[in-house]
């Protein structure tokens, strides 16, 4: 088997094409990748993670040359928006839809109303001048995977909502991986201008094959702007996902970020939410459900840099069969962030004896005038809840299903882009098993 640096090589990165500035950016990252090493679980950020077992050399990057080039390979015809199946239905009415398949852009549609409102959907591979927004939030990659995304991202996409604009419907970006052993590195940049309001859904979908997805999203929420951002992870059972979302929120801006994660054999989501301007707010929610031998891994950072900033985090998950979940969250309050109000709650329901769940809250506070609270609970279904329902004549299996659905109800209602999130009740039901 060829080694990693031959597969994910500088030459490959250089051959991905596009404007000079983008090529240069990829080449530099690919050079840095040559000497980089896989993180180890002895690092705090990767504690409890099986990252060191990852065999990156078993994957290969998307063929260069765009969707048409890919079609000549063994990928078959490129997927279009029509191939998203139930996901397309669940997305309902949209302002715009961007679809990539196996790392290549296969469709970008925008409604005339959204275009008139000023929404722009820009594949950065077509921008001849450097676009500062790429790397604007994440000026340096957070880890090896961020570096790989910088180096091997085929089609970075930018969504721009200009100052004052309000979109009636969500924008959806869907990244599909179809080909066995493929690695994709989707990159999305969302810029929401002063006072603008938008909803964005970023979905990652794969079939049955062993694939690797390493997405990076950068969210730039301007002053008094509001962004609702929903990250949907619906990878197949053999897929590995290592996802990072980095956000910065300016003065009086409001970011509502939600994660829904159900797929993957190992799936990690890291979210960095930086409240950079006075009065900025970051609400973060996640619902996740692991079964079989899945490992779901979440790392969150609530970074309060400015005064009077608020963050409120609620991550709720369940694990059954032999699944594992990891939650590690840090609230960081900088010296200037007086008047910070930060909350972090993680609840995990253990639905079998063989599951494993870790929940690790951390605080790092450099200002005295703050309110920070964290809470975590990890445990099985409450016997009293079970007894109450059964003593009303509810069959035991139905009682358990109701309790698990009920456990997720609060967070499901908190998730952004409710038109899409409402469908997650179905997802929970499917994971628990059929109703009798």
């Amino acid at each position: 088997m060829p080694d990693l640096q031959e597969i994910f090589s500088v030459a490959y990165a250089a051959g991905l094409g596009g404007p000079d500035w983008l090529q240069q950016r990829r080449r530099e990252a690919a050079e840095a990748f040559r000497t980089a090493e896989l993180p180890s679980s002895s690092e705090e950020e990767w504690r409890y993670s099986p990252v060191s077992e990852l065999r990156l050399e078993t994957y290969r990057p998307a063929p260069s040359g765009g969707a048409n080039g890919a079609a000549g390979d063994d990928t078959g015809p490129a997927a279009g928006p029509g191939e998203l199946g139930t996901l397309r239905d669940r997305l309902a009415a949209l302002s715009a839809l961007v679809v990539t398949c196996d790392g290549h852009l296969v469709g970008a549609e925008i409604t005339p109303e959204a275009a008139a409102a000023g929404l722009s959907v820009r594949p950065l591979g077509e921008e001849t001048e450097p676009v500062g927004a790429l790397g604007g939030v994440l000026d340096a990659p957070a880890d090896l995977f961020g570096l790989m995304n910088d180096a091997f991202c085929t089609e970075p996409v930018m969504l721009e909502i200009p100052s004052g604009a309000r979109l009636a419907d969500p924008v959806a970006v869907v990244n599909v991986v179809r080909t066995q052993s493929l690695a994709i590195f989707p990159r999305l940049v969302v810029v929401v201008g002063d006072g603008a309001e938008a909803q964005v859904v970023n979905a990652l979908v794969s079939g049955e094959g062993e694939v690797l997805a390493v997405p990076v999203a950068e969210l730039d929420v301007g002053p008094a702007a509001r962004l609702e951002y929903l990250n949907l992870q619906e990878l197949g059972p053999q897929a590995t996902g290592i996802d990072q979302t980095a956000a910065t929120v300016a003065t009086q801006g409001h970011l509502v970020i939600g994660l829904a994660a159900v797929g993957g054999t190992y799936a990690r989501c890291r979210v960095d939410c930086t409240l950079a301007g006075r009065g900025a707010t970051g609400d973060m929610s996640a619902m996740y459900f692991g079964d079989r031998d899945q490992i779901l891994d979440f790392r969150t950072y609530q970074n309060h840099l400015a005064p009077d900033t608020n963050s409120n985090l609620l991550f709720v998950g369940a694990v059954e069969d032999r699944a594992r979940s990891i939650y590690s969250g840090l609230i960081r309050v900088g010296p200037k962030a007086r008047g910070t109000d930060a909350e972090q709650t993680n609840r995990i329901l253990k639905l079998s004896e063989e599951v494993w769940a870790d929940s690790v809250p951390n605080l790092e506070i450099e200002n005295n005038d703050v309110r920070c609270a964290h809470a975590s609970s990890v445990g099985p279904v409450d016997e009293d809840h079970r007894f109450y329902l059964e003593s009303r004549g509810v069959p035991p299996d139905v009682a358990e299903r109701l309790i698990v659905e009920g456990f997720f109800r609060e967070v499901r209602r908190r998730l952004p882009v409710q038109s899409v999130a409402a469908g997650f009740d179905e997802m929970v039901r499917a994971k628990i098993g059929p109703e009798q």
């Binding site: 016997e383 009293d384 809840h385 007894f387 109450y388 329902l389 059964e390 003593s391 009303r392 004549g393 509810v394 069959p395 035991p396 139905v398 009682a399 109701l402 309790i403 659905e405 009920g406 456990f407 997720f408 109800r409 609060e410």
Partner: protein, 257 residues
């Protein structure tokens, strides 16, 4: 005609013996009140009949129309026609009354009536003065004691059990709510419901007429009689009834209290 026959019931709570042989016979349409001081075993009786974890029957039987409840799971007991209205109804986050009652009626094959569980629930809610908004909320979560008790009565009305065990149904209820709940229970008894009402005040018996009153002291029923027994109790208090049986004294001495 349904009947609940409890014979020689002994039970432990959290491993400690609490009930030392309880006998009761409740026939359809009757209201029995079990009264006693705190810690006498009233709630243990309620919970062991319903099959709550942590409560174990160590001897005796509890036959509901010939089936021994003690051999059944809590769900099977409920489907056999037993209902427990709890003293402290459990808060179950994210699960509302319609979810619960719909699932129970479906399991009983009773969900196909006109309008289904939702219609049944809203009709009964109106009769009991339960605001419709409460039906949408998670059961018992952030409700006042009175709202919780009305919710228990509402479930009783919808589920139509054969025998209802009411554990301190009067606590937390204001006078008007207590009357509404008592009226609804009396209607159910005229349709054949048998009631075992557990209380330590005679207040409940002012609004819910009891056919039989039992006094429970230290895990035993020490006296049974008609409604007049409650009046007598009002005069004497429980102390006058607290005459431990010689055998129990021996046991207690033996355990070197």
């Amino acid at each position: 005609m349904s009947e609940l026959v409890v014979e020689g019931l002994r039970a432990n709570a959290a491993g400690e013996p609490i009930l030392h042989g309880v006998d009761l016979r409740i026939v359809a349409g009757e209201v029995h009140a079990v009264m006693g001081p705190n810690g006498c075993g009233k709630s243990t009786l309620a919970h062991v009949l319903a099959g709550r974890h942590g409560y174990t029957a160590t001897a005796g039987r509890a036959l509901l129309d010939g089936r021994d409840l003690l051999t059944l799971s809590p769900f099977e007991r409920a489907q056999a026609g037993l209902f427990l209205a709890m003293q402290y109804p459990t808060e179950v986050p994210g699960v509302n009354l319609l979810d619960v009652l719909g699932a129970s009626l479906r399991a009983a094959g009773r969900d196909l009536a006109a309008g289904g569980p939702a219609a049944l629930l809203s009709t009964e809610a109106e009769r009991l003065g339960v605001p419709p908004a409460l039906l949408e909320r998670a059961v018992n979560v952030d409700l006042s004691g009175g709202e919780q008790k009305r919710g228990e009565a509402l479930q009783l009305a919808v589920l139509r059990p054969r025998i209802a065990v009411l554990d301190e149904i009067d606590s937390g209820l204001d006078v008007d709510a207590l009357r509404a709940v008592a009226r609804r229970i009396e209607e159910a008894t005229s349709d054949g419901l048998g009631v075992l009402a557990i209380t330590h005040y005679t207040r409940l018996l002012g609004v819910l007429r009891a056919d039989r009153v039992h006094i429970m002291i230290r895990g035993r029923i020490v006296a049974s009689g008609g409604p007049e027994l409650a009046n007598e109790l009002e005069q004497t208090g429980y102390e006058g009834w607290d005459r431990p049986a010689p055998a129990e004294v021996a046991v207690r001495l033996g355990r070197s209290f």
